[in-house]
C-alpha cells in the first residue's frame, strides 16, 4: 500500500459525500491530483454518485454495508491510498463499545501515518449542564434515571484517538511527530461561522482541542473546514445546479488561515504534507 491515509469518522460525518465528490474530481481530472489506478470497488459510493448526479441528497450509508474502500491517488510522483476500513458500518462506535480493533483496523492504523479525522460539528450533542445555568437548589432530584450512559461526543472522540494511539505504540511523554493528523470539520456550510477552523473547534469542543494540542507537535496537526457538497440539495434551484453543472464542480475547503479553496482535493494534499 502506498502512503495510506486513514479516513476516520462517525456514521453521518459526511464521509460518503466527500468520497463521491473526491472520486469525481479525480476521475474528471479537475485537480492536480489524479487516480493512478482503477478504484477496486465503487459499490459503497455508487448510490451517492447517482443521487448527486441527479441533484438529490445522498441517503446515509447503511450500517450493514461494511466493506473496505480505497482510492488510489497520485500527486506528482507521490502515490497515496485513501483507505476506509469497514467503511459504512458503525465501526468507530464499535471500537469504543467493544474496546478493540479488528484486524483490518489494526493493519490500517499500524500502516498509516496520515489520519484524516472527520467531525461534523452541526451533529454534536450539546447538552446543557450545570455550568451553563443557575439552577434552583430546590430543583435538584435524586438520580433516578435508568437509561444507559451514552458517552458524550468529546469523550468519545478523545477515547477513540487514545485507542488508535495505543495501537500506534504512542509514548505520551512526547508530543506526536509520527502521525500527521488532519481534522476536517465537515458540512462547514451548516456552521455559518466566520471563525477559522481551529478556533471554531476550540470553541465547540474545547476538551478535545486541548487533548490534540497537548499530544501533537504543532506542525503535525491541522484543522480545516470541509463542505464536500457546498449546499443542501433541498430546493429545485440547488438540485438543478448539480444536475446541470455536475456535482464535481461543487464543494470547498477552508484552510487553516480561513481562506476558501474551491477544490476539495486540497484536503488530501494537507493530509500528507
Amino acid at each position: 500500500m502506498n502512503n495510506p491515509i486513514l479516513l476516520i469518522g462517525k456514521p453521518g460525518s459526511s464521509k460518503t459525500v466527500f468520497l463521491s465528490q473526491l472520486y469525481l474530481r479525480l476521475q474528471k481530472r479537475k485537480s492536480k491530483l489524479k487516480l493512478y489506478d482503477q478504484v477496486p470497488n465503487l459499490s459503497l459510493i455508487i448510490d451517492a454518485l447517482n443521487e448527486l448526479a441527479e441533484g438529490k441528497e445522498p441517503i446515509p450509508t447503511h450500517s450493514e454495508q461494511s466493506l473496505d474502500f480505497m482510492l488510489p491517488i497520485q500527486a506528482g510522483e507521490l502515490k497515496m491510498d485513501l483507505i476506509c476500513p469497514e467503511y459504512g458500518g458503525e465501526q468507530v462506535k464499535r471500537i469504543i463499545a467493544k474496546r478493540e480493533l479488528d484486524s483490518l483496523w489494526k493493519d490500517a492504523v499500524t500502516n498509516s501515518n496520515n489520519w484524516l479525522f472527520f467531525i461534523r460539528l452541526s451533529e454534536i450533542n450539546k447538552a446543557e449542564d450545570i455550568a451553563d445555568i443557575t439552577p434552583n437548589p430546590n430543583n435538584v432530584t435524586p438520580d433516578e434515571r435508568d437509561e444507559e450512559h451514552v458517552l458524550s461526543d468529546q469523550a468519545f472522540y478523545i477515547e477513540l484517538l487514545q485507542i488508535l494511539l495505543f495501537h500506534k505504540y504512542n509514548d505520551y511523554h512526547f508530543k506526536n511527530k509520527k502521525v500527521r493528523l488532519t481534522i476536517a470539520l465537515t458540512c462547514w456550510d451548516e456552521l455559518e461561522t466566520k471563525d477559522i477552523p481551529e478556533a471554531h473547534l476550540k470553541k465547540e469542543l474545547p476538551l478535545l482541542y486541548a487533548f490534540l494540542k497537548a499530544n501533537w507537535m504543532s506542525d503535525n496537526w491541522v484543522v480545516l473546514g470541509l463542505s464536500a457538497q457546498q449546499f443542501r440539495l433541498t430546493n429545485a434551484e440547488n438540485q438543478d445546479k448539480y444536475a446541470v453543472e455536475g456535482p464535481e464542480n461543487f464543494g470547498f475547503i477552508i484552510d487553516k488561515n480561513g481562506k476558501r479553496t474551491d477544490d476539495i482535493t486540497e484536503l488530501i494534499v494537507n493530509a500528507v504534507l
Partner: protein
Amino acid sequence: MANCSNKECVAHKTSNCHLGEEDYRKCEFWLAANGSKAKNIEKVFKQSKKNLTWSGDPLAYDEINSIVGRNSAITIGIAGRAGAGKTTFLAMVFTLLQKGYNLKGYDFAGSNTIIGWDYLYDRLKVYQTQVSFPNPTPLEYCRFFHLALRDENNALKDILISDASGEVFTLWATDRDHVNAGNARLIYHTSCAFILFIDCGDLIDRKGRAKSDIIKIAEMLKFDLRNRPVIAVWSKSDRKSEVHPSILSSLEEELQSMFTNYEQIDVSNFSSKHPDPLVHANNLKVIDWLIEHANRPLTQVLTSPHSSDDDFFLNFKRQ
C-alpha cells in the same frame, strides 16, 4: 442494563458491586439476574483485556500502577463525610474541563478513566430544568479517576483523584483501625495531597455536631500527615452565609492551627451569576493549589553547624 438481584445494589447505574466484588459481573447476585447477558459481557471484557490496557472506567487500587509508574503521579485523596459533595465535586471538575475551563499551566492530555469521568458529567446535565446529582457512593467503593496533563514545558503530569464513600471516613475518624475503614486507610497512605470536605449544609443543619465530625476527620488526617498539603473545601458555599458565625470562625481557626501546608476555598455547584467564581473558578483552583503544593520538595535543606570549613561533610564529622 438490567438490575442486580440484590435490591440494594446499584451496579446497573454505577458499575460498582454492593458487595465489593471487583467486577460486578462476576457477583453471584448479578449473575442470578443477568446470567446469559453476563456471559456475553464477559466475552467482551476478556477481549478488551487482550487489546487495551485500560477500560475507561475508574481505576481500582491495583490498577493504578500503570499510571503511577509512568512518571511521578500526584495522588489526591478526598476525605469528608457522606453527602458532603465529594463525588459531585469530581463531576464538576470534569464538567468544567469539558466546557473549556483550564487547570492553571496545564493542558488536558488524556485520561485512562474518561468513561468514568463522562458518567459523572452525565449526571450534571440538565433534564427538563432539573439536575440529578450523583447517587451516594456505596460503602465498599473506592476508585481513582485519572487526568493526564501536559505543562508549559511539555512535561507530562499524571493526577489520580480518589473517590470513596463518606461513611468510611466517619468510621476512620472514630477508629483508625476500624474493620470497615480500609478504604480511608488506603487513601490516607496512598495520597500525596488531600482535600478535606466541609459541608456548609451540614454545618447549618447540625451545627456543633457537624463541626465536631469535621474536626475528627481533620485530626485523623493530621496524625501522620508530614508535609502533605491539605486544602479545606467548603462545599455548598452558596449557603455559607447561613452558617452560624461562631461556628464558622472557630472551625476556620482550628483547622488553620492544625495544618501547616494548608489552604481553604469556597466552592458551589449553584451559580448565582455567570460566571460565578464559586462554581466556575474555585472547583478547578482546588486541583491547581494541590498540584502546586504537592510538587514542592518535601526534604529540608541541611545546614552545617560549623561554617568555618568549606567542606560540608567534614563540618558534620567534627560535630
